[in-house]
């Protein structure tokens, strides 16, 4: 490989060892998406991290555990979970907030992690599918998904379950029609919808009894 298209072939750089200015990045494709939220969050960002340019160490609390990870400001929570923390239970189906596969809980609220920047989630409690079960004891929603066969390929499933748990907590699973509506942000191409509905409704009726 002698082509000049392989600039670093001999000495591959380490991940994120660069010190590029944030402005330089924001001139790129992500610039528009990044600018508004960062402007409003700037204060908090400086409070948690010493520098806001290039990659910084941030600390995320995921499933009650603190993780320090070095990321650039443009890195989404989804890619931080999947690519840096090896928490691959959270899935990427579209990366654009269109499918729900990446749903996690942030401070108990369902959130699309592909539309969420990791640097903005410091000091918050993030729960992923890996944090739902207590050891070997499944969360009732997980058990209900197995019981009602609310999954086939399983790729949308973590997002469905995180949405389902939140849907019940929000009180949006009190009727079939309401539950269908509030679970409609999570696409399932295998078409497990009637079974997903059955699982979420069963957990909702149990928790209302309890």
């Amino acid at each position: 490989m002698s082509s000049d298209l392989f600039p670093n072939a001999d000495t591959p750089p380490l991940a994120d060892n660069s010190r590029r200015s944030f402005l330089k990045q924001s001139g790129g494709i992500l610039g528009l998406a990044l600018a508004p939220p960062l402007a409003s969050q700037a204060e908090r960002l400086t409070a948690y991290s010493k520098v806001i340019q290039g990659a910084t160490d941030i600390t995320l609390r995921v499933n009650s555990q603190a993780h320090t990870v070095r990321v650039e400001p443009r890195v989404t929570l989804l890619d931080t979970l999947r690519e840096r923390l090896d928490l691959t239970g959270t899935k990427k189906g579209c990366d654009h907030g269109q499918c729900g596969a990446c749903t996690v809980h942030i401070n108990g609220k369902r959130t699309l992690s592909c539309l969420t920047l990791a640097v903005m989630q410091q000091g918050k409690e993030i729960t992923t599918i890996e944090g739902l079960a207590k050891g070997d004891e499944l969360h009732p929603m997980q058990a209900a998904f197995i019981k009602h066969d609310g999954l086939q390929c399983g790729y949308c499933t973590p997002g469905q379950i995180m949405s389902g748990v939140a849907c019940v907590q929000e009180g949006h699973a009190t009727t079939d029609a309401q539950c269908r509506e509030w679970m409609s942000g999570n696409l399932c191409r295998c078409g497990a919808y009637p079974n997903i509905l059955a699982a979420v409704r069963e957990v909702a009726s149990q928790s209302s009894k309890g």
């Binding site: 298209l5 269109q98 009637p194």
Partner: protein, 780 residues
């Protein structure tokens, strides 16, 4: 093993086959532990590849300026057509293609400066992080000398032609004189049906992680429906021996046909990994998924149907026109189902193709049978209304007691029972025979139904069963589970075949180091893999029985091997069940920790006639003829829609499917597959269409926000039932697949219900509100 394989009969003591076992992989999937192909992050030094694709549908790359991209930190390599390592064999070369087991099109991008379709890969950036690679790919300055593309068969620039063949079916086929039959028929119906471009859109996008463990040892974690086919194809393209490539797919996030093939990214990832000396992960973005793994082609069909005044079919003339790529004559073979579904004396079919600036379309859930059933099942509905017959009645009137294409008996067919059971579950008798008469408030209510069928394709594959003395077992086959339930149903079959509980079974799949079996596609996996596992277990018993009858310490000593049977894990005399022992005792005395069996399972007409019918040059009809039987699954869908006459919206309010598909191994996972296929079809009926700009030949809605797939709120309660069949001709388990039949007839059932509700026949899919409103403005 005897040459004539035994047939699995349910034991007197009931086992777990046929029971609604919960998915054995459910735990891994609900906890996030199931590892999909883009999730092998522990590979040492793993880096990321990102594709840069073409915005232009036709032209020539004049330059790619990589200077800004190269300066980005973390960038390891940038590949374009100028420096991409050469493939040993390429799909661009027709001679080379013969070496491929699963190449989906006769074109490989980045081999020259030519641009043939929008979304074609032009460059690939490899960097240490995903973000670095994405950003650098965006910085590439691509210059293309654009030419005027052809968007589809509808483009005035397109010229249509009749190909020699499409997918093994001749461009023109004739059975009897259908033209004359139609011309002379007292009842003549002519209708043209349109089907939009559809995309599979599995929730898991295409992803390949390539790891060169040594210069001659490549391991690929790939989103494939067939690890063996991918292994063979990759090896050929990369100039390796088949055994030097290992392909792993432990979990697959849906496939629906698009993951059945080695698409360009599957090859680009190993090329990149080799060049940078690190494992490389390449994941398609959702927009790239629309131009990276094929689609169901846009198409129109004209059906001319001739019948007697009583409603008996006399002949059908079918023509299909569709778009194909610049290099391949590809079309779904819609004619197959139209030819065989009813007692039809004469049939003629012609395929017209037009080349356009698109990639080759590909297998999509029930290829051909799905859109073909839309045409025939709507026209049958028309016939019923025209003659004042009930839609079920007109179908019974034309019931095919044997296969009309070759006169052979069916290996099994329970379609009449499906109609009857479906009508009962649905309440079909409540239906007002006149259309446009039933209302629910201001909503128009309609009932519709349609027939479903899907062939039993031939396939074969191996399995290995290792039974341990402690009663546990490892079962292996290089199959894949697309979410269909393969892990679960094979666990059940192995448990019964070995006489041990299912929790004692560990079934391993999705790896080319396991026994070779064919891809999961064409609804073949359940029948093939279950048969091979069942037969491999038989070999274990044969070995154990042979050991026992020559073992002086065994109560079975001296017995004839043929007189000994296995019952619930015990070897015993057929005539005197009290005489026998547990298999563990036999192994213990022989100081064996385990006994292993292997077998080949065959599915379809090659089950009983392996030699005669396995000839690759024979078409399905010839293979069936060799076996003496025609083999299909059958079923029926019933649907209630509510149409808002002011808004043009159509909602499916109720759904019933009844399927007869041989032995149902697990009614729980089978039901899920049937509702899944029905929902996939409801999507095609009501909302799914990928729109290619007529001038730019570029998709305008290549994402999940504007390509609408059904969501939970679109789907009503669904009722599924099965008519159990005992079919000793299809395979050793008597199983016919259900992954695809579940979608056949669905679009027609919805369209027929819309007709019943509104008195308007919509023949263009999807039936979006604009089309419904336009129809409502016309007189009924």
């Amino acid at each position: 093993m005897d040459t004539e394989p035994q047939f699995f009969e349910t034991n007197a003591a009931p086992g777990v086959v046929g029971q609604p076992l919960s998915r054995v992989d459910g735990w891994a999937k609900v906890t996030g532990r199931a590892k999909y192909s883009a999730e092998y992050n522990q590979l040492p030094g793993l880096v990321h590849a990102v594709l840069r694709t073409s915005d232009v549908a036709k032209g020539r790359v004049t330059s790619i300026d990589a200077s800004a991209a190269q300066r980005q930190p973390g960038v390891l390599a940038i590949f374009t057509h100028e420096n991409l390592p050469k493939l040993a064999k390429t799909p661009n070369n027709p001679e080379d293609q013969k070496a491929f087991a699963s190449s989906p099109m006769s074109f490989f991008p980045m081999a020259s400066d030519q641009v043939h379709y929008a979304g074609q890969p032009l460059a690939m950036v490899v960097a240490d992080t995903l973000e670095h690679a994405q950003y650098a790919a965006a910085l590439l300055k691509v210059n293309i000398a654009a030419e005027v593309p052809t968007a589809s068969y509808l483009d005035p620039k397109a010229t249509s032609y009749v190909p020699k063949s499409v997918k093994g079916t001749e461009g023109v086929t004739k059975r009897g004189d259908a033209q004359a039959a139609f011309r002379n028929a007292p009842v003549q119906l002519t209708a043209t049906y349109h089907h939009a471009t559809n995309h599979h859109n599995p929730m898991e996008p295409g992803a390949t992680t390539a790891h060169w463990e040594a210069p001659d040892r490549l391991t690929v974690y790939d989103t494939t429906q067939g690890v063996s086919e991918t292994q063979k194809t990759l090896a050929a393209m990369l100039g390796l021996a088949t055994e030097q490539v290992r392909v792993v797919t432990k979990y697959l996030g849906g496939g629906f046909g698009c993951k059945a093939w080695v698409w360009p990214h599957v090859v680009l990832a190993p090329l990149a990994a080799k060049a940078v000396g690190r494992p490389v992960k390449l994941v398609l973005t959702r927009p790239q998924q629309f131009t990276g793994m094929g689609h169901r082609e846009e198409q129109e069909q004209t059906l001319r149907l001739g019948a007697t005044k009583e409603g008996k079919l006399l002949g059908i003339v079918h023509e299909k026109t569709s778009t194909t790529s610049p290099w391949d004559d590809y079309a779904e073979t819609n004619s197959r189902i139209i030819n065989m579904l009813y007692a039809l004396p004469a049939f003629e079919s012609t395929y017209h193709l037009a080349k356009a600036s698109v990639m080759t379309s590909t297998s999509t859930r029930a290829p051909g049978d799905m859109p073909g059933s839309f045409a025939i099942e709507c026209s049958m509905d028309d016939l019923a209304y025209q003659l004042g017959l009930d839609p079920i009645q007109v179908r019974l009137l034309n019931y095919a007691e044997k296969d009309p294409t070759n006169g052979h008996p069916w290996s099994s067919k329970s379609l009449k029972q499906c109609y009857a059971r479906g009508a009962e579950l649905f309440g079909w008798s409540q239906r007002n025979p006149r259309n446009g008469q039933t209302r629910n408030g201001k909503l128009l209510v309609g009932y519709g139904m349609a027939t479903a069928s899907y062939p039993v394709h031939n396939s074969q594959g191996n399995a290995r069963v290792r039974l341990y003395a402690d009663g546990r077992a490892v079962v292996q086959a290089g199959a894949t589970d697309l979410g269909t339930g393969t892990y679960t149903i094979i666990t059940q079959v192995a448990a019964d075949a070995l006489g041990v509980p299912p929790q004692n079974i560990r079934f391993e799949l999705g790896d080319t180091i396991l026994p070779t079996t064919q891809w999961s596609g064409g609804s073949t996996a359940a029948g093939r893999v279950s048969s091979s596992v069942y037969l491999a277990a038989q070999e274990v018993w044969q070995k154990l029985i042979k050991m026992a009858v020559i073992d002086r310490k065994s109560p079975l000593y001296g017995a004839k091997a043929a007189d000994v049977v296995m019952e619930k894990g015990r070897l015993q005399l057929k005539a005197d069940p009290g005489k026998g022992e547990a298999f563990g005792e036999v192994m213990k005395r022989a100081s064996l920790s385990d006994v292993e069996g292997t077998a080949q399972g065959r599915y379809g007409s090659i089950y009983k006639e392996p030699g005669a019918a396995a000839d690759a040059n024979m078409n399905k009809e010839e293979k069936d003829a060799a076996a003496g039987y025609s083999m299909h699954a059958f079923g029926a869908h019933f649907c209630e829609v509510h149409v808002d006459p002011e808004l043009g919206t159509v909602r499916v309010a109720r759904w019933v499917s009844v399927m007869s598909a041989g032995r149902i191994l697990n009614p729980k996972t089978a039901r899920s597959q049937v509702i899944g296929g029905s929902i996939f079809g409801i999507g095609a009926a009501l909302m799914e269409q990928t729109v290619r700009d007529p001038n730019l030949a570029r998709y305008t809605n290549a994402d999940l926000a504007s390509y609408h797939v059904p969501v939970n709120a679109d789907i009503p309660d669904m009722r599924v039932d099965f008519i159990d069949e005992h079919d000793p001709h299809v395979n050793a388990m008597g199983v016919k697949g259900i992954g695809e039949i579940s979608i056949v007839g669905v679009t027609a059932a919805v369209a027929n219900a819309v007709f019943h509700a509104t008195g308007r026949r919509l023949r263009s899919l999807p039936m979006t509100p604009d089309k419904v409103l336009a129809a409502m403005r016309q007189p009924a």
